[in-house]
Subunit: 217 residues, 2 copies
Amino acid sequence: MKKLTKLIIADDHPLFRKGLVDLISTISQFSICGQADDGIEAIDLIKKNNPDIAILDINMPGMNGFDVAKKIKSDKLAVDIIFLTMYNEEELFNKAMDLGVKGYILKECAVKDILDCIISVSEGKHYISPVISDYLVNRSSILNINENQKSGIDKLTPTEKQILQLIAENKTSKEIADKYFISIRTVDNHRMNICNKLSIHGSNALLKFALENKHLF
Amino acid sequence: MKKLTKLIIADDHPLFRKGLVDLISTISQFSICGQADDGIEAIDLIKKNNPDIAILDINMPGMNGFDVAKKIKSDKLAVDIIFLTMYNEEELFNKAMDLGVKGYILKECAVKDILDCIISVSEGKHYISPVISDYLVNRSSILNINENQKSGIDKLTPTEKQILQLIAENKTSKEIADKYFISIRTVDNHRMNICNKLSIHGSNALLKFALENKHLF
DNA sequence: TCACATCTAAGTATTCCTACTCATGCAAAA
DNA sequence: TTTTGCATGAGTAGGAATACTTAGATGTGA
């Protein structure tokens, strides 16, 4: 016999909430012990009903999902969090990860995925929306389009790439020069040539570029 | 009736390869049309046998998995790639994503996960090892330990956080000063105070910190 | 052989950031 | 009320990166 898992749901769209409730109700293992319109209500419900899992919409009036997750963390409430969101932005996803969220699914996901997520989390596992995986993957194609065409790392010579690598590793021009037994002025010239080839300008432009794109070379 | 999916396997550990072959052979849908000891052999096999999926170990002598994936991409070979690796490092994972790899699993994964991965990819979907998801999630705890205790962003005043934010957005001290109608010297002082509170030193140290940690504030 | 790319190096100037010290005004807390 | 924290501003110094120019050495391919 399965252990009963108690859930609360917080979402400011009543219709969506109803759909979710209906979906979860089809599984006898789950019991919904509360529904909230916003984050503040959600926190109240969690403290009152002590659910195992809280399904939180990120975008809510007043306290949003992140605020609720922070509150749960700071108050050390024993509840696992699932974020349910419309946005698949990397920033949001990373923030959620940093808050220790157990599940992260997009509203556009298939019903099966949403159920899978709740089941996984109820079993103590993590679950991240397949679309997010796809997103992480597809990031490559976007990046490749942007960067193969726009930034043209391809245009760099081997030496230039090597130097760019070291810049990304926090090395100064002097350190690079010492490492290869060449003059700082040579490194300077390479830096300038790289800047020109990549069409980047301004203070510390190369460092910024190198840090943001080091996964590409 | 299911369509037959042809695979090739490249791994420099014969024993592991045998285990994998035996595992895959239990599923009639799959047919292994080649095995390779290293990357060069893998490329040959792919060109000769035209498989649907190539399962590549990242760590191989000569051409490694990344080299093979690059070659596949540059030669526009119509084969989906699954990376099978011992290392769950974020850098490697991100690089794999950027190469358009369809599946990414760790050797430590359960047999079921490995099969799930192959099946998913054969169905045209992506599959990323659950351990990687866990890794992405657990990164938070590591980060939180490292950064709540070590870096102490908490110690910063609101103004200092605001300035740090702008630094992360590529603003120079002058731009920040202009934006808030304050003197550059004031911004300078804030920068120095931030550096001291975070115990960071060196050229462009703040910019580096801001870029690497902007997801935290 | 000639042209071209690349690596090497130096000159000069400017801007930006770091580092440290000193000082004033304000508001909240002790 | 005095102290403390914070925001504000300036002086001075030096290190580092950008920006632009010129130029010798080397190797490759046409």
